[in-house]
């Protein structure tokens, strides 16, 4: 069974530029999560989708971050405009459903904002 796929793996941009990350969850997984992991810290949940609906986005800085999950499968996370403090690893995870289901993480996209 293929795991969670993310692209790109690395991205370097200048501040105030925009960037987008893509996530393809495990086939059949209804729930998708985006996390931000700053160096030396644990992951911080940004947004949780159930199929193509948003369950929780209370930690998503909505003035610059946006996310969508069209057709309840793939998802994109966008930052526009980027700030220096957005430098982090962006992790995507998926689970069969909400609740007690195990989350499976992708390898992450490492973003450096200069």
């Amino acid at each position: 069974e293929a795991g969670v796929a993310q692209s790109p793996r690395y991205k370097i941009i200048e501040k105030r530029q925009s960037v987008a990350f893509w996530c393809n969850p495990i086939s059949g997984h209804a729930t998708l999560y985006w996390y931000q992991q700053i160096l030396g810290q644990g992951p911080k949940l940004l947004i949780q989708f159930q199929n193509n609906g948003v369950v929780d986005d209370s930690q998503l800085p909505k003035d610059r971050f946006s996310a969508e999950r069209l057709k309840g499968v793939d998802s994109t996370l966008k930052i526009q405009p980027a700030k220096l403090e957005d430098s982090a690893v962006y992790l995507c995870a998926s689970s069969k459903d909400r609740g007690r289901e195990t989350q499976y993480f992708g390898p992450g996209t490492r973003l450096l904002v200069l």
């Binding site: 996390y35 644990g42 992790l91 007690r100 390898p107």
Partner: protein, 110 residues
């Protein structure tokens, strides 16, 4: 404020030297406590989920336990391949939010 705190931040062990990692939580209405392993440059890998105080789960050299205020990850006779960062996370009653600790970086020397 809901939060999860892990200690120590880093731990160096000799191969075979058993120890425990701590995860204390102040999460209202905790519904689940998760342990993950994260290797450099990779996403977290699921280890255990604990749901109620007194629960224990084991996998090879790892054993996770849960009380009403904290969880422990016991590592028995560790090997160098157990070197990684171990993360714990708590979730609340409706599984809408997940709170991760900052992790314990374990280094096992041969």
């Amino acid at each position: 404020e809901d939060q999860v705190t892990q200690s120590p931040e880093a731990l160096r062990l000799q191969e075979g030297e058993s120890s425990s990692l701590n995860c204390s939580y102040t999460v209202s209405g905790l519904r689940g406590l998760f342990w993950y392993r994260q290797d450099p440059g990779k996403g977290p890998e699921f280890l255990f989920t604990l749901y109620s105080a007194g629960e224990e789960k084991e996998k090879e050299r790892l054993k996770a336990t849960l009380t009403k205020k904290e969880s422990f990850l016991h590592i028995t006779a560790p090997k160098p391949e157990d070197s990684a960062t171990y993360l714990c996370a708590g979730t609340i009653y409706n599984f809408n939010k997940f709170y991760f600790g900052s992790g314990t970086k374990l280094n096992v020397k041969p």
